[in-house]
Subunit: 202 residues, 2 copies
Amino acid sequence: VTGTSAARVRNARGEGARLRADVVRAARSLLERSGTEDAVTLRATAREAGIAAPSIYAHFADRRAMIEAVVSEAFAEFTTTVIGALRGVTDPAERLRAGCRAYVRFGHEHPATYAMLFTRHRPSELPTVGTDAARVFQVLVDAIADCASAGRSPSADPRRDAVALWLGLHGMAALPPAHPRFPWPETESLLDDLIARLVPIR
Amino acid sequence: VTGTSAARVRNARGEGARLRADVVRAARSLLERSGTEDAVTLRATAREAGIAAPSIYAHFADRRAMIEAVVSEAFAEFTTTVIGALRGVTDPAERLRAGCRAYVRFGHEHPATYAMLFTRHRPSELPTVGTDAARVFQVLVDAIADCASAGRSPSADPRRDAVALWLGLHGMAALPPAHPRFPWPETESLLDDLIARLVPIR
DNA sequence: TGTACATCAGTGAACGCGCGTTCACTGATGTAC
DNA sequence: TGTACATCAGTGAACGCGCGTTCACTGATGTAC
């Protein structure tokens, strides 16, 4: 029943918006601990954040809005992580690999969050999800196109290659955490192997 | 509130075990309709099956046992479907493709069921899941090994190839249903493309 | 500098709901004599 | 063939619980005069 055990200190005047970030953070940590979105209830999130349940209504219209904020922020974090992994890497083939490694690592480090982003949801969808997914997809397309124009890959259709690669990356990100007892090969070499099969690079 | 609208006829004496099958069937249909395991409550399943909630306890110890039965039966159905698709196909390369097609088709036709089987669950795991997954995996390994020994594939390590292929198949089975707005290429040709990249076949 | 007041960041109690589960039961049907 | 009884397939009412949400509130802090 103890959430964040330290008794909360009330935010100073004008700093009330901080609670919003605290709530999202609490929901994220609840999500990862429980492994499922359905455990992220309003009341459990409030407990986790060390506040009373009605306080959440100061920042979110209802539970759905809170969950949507969690999805949005998680997707932004995912996108930032993948794009950030490319920074400073100049060799085009290495850039592609760095992006792929970051993608898969995110899935392994935050399995429940990854599943929330890329696994089927309930009827009502968030527009941001499609947009964010498209942005990460474009990173793959560009990385492959860069390999091709640098003469490092014979790729004639980077979009098509990126689709195949995305399918493989999703498998690598989602399947091992879901089936931990399966004798998976070592991650790093399996991923290199997978990329080599899906997008030939010289 | 109307489940199967036809009023249930009570099972004849000695036929009480039929209700077990009815309950599992009702739970499966509820799962696919709602898209999430958490909607498969005892009471909702009872409504769907047209019985009173306590009647479920004649066949299952509790809700968890009921869900486990659903998972077990769904996995058996999945395994049977994939293995059944190989029957009558003699050419080794075609056998492999037939198995892959059946795998992906199952994912597209029963997205919530597929997600239940291959997506991360809560802490407590079913032993049957690991076993069943291993059996389907072995089908892939054998199909690839057959291609190799028939001289149709240069594969030197069918197990390794099968891991890569499984990762791709999971992507193909899970990602398009989860992101329906993404401009996916046509399924059949995308799958052939994916197989060709992952497991070279002559 | 002092005081009244508005505003802000939250809280506690209560509501109605669907849930899993338990309990005592009902009524049809087969079986023993 | 008739009747008492056991068994079987299932039911209705009730429980305690956690949930989302609403409501009237509290108490600290900045601001106007």
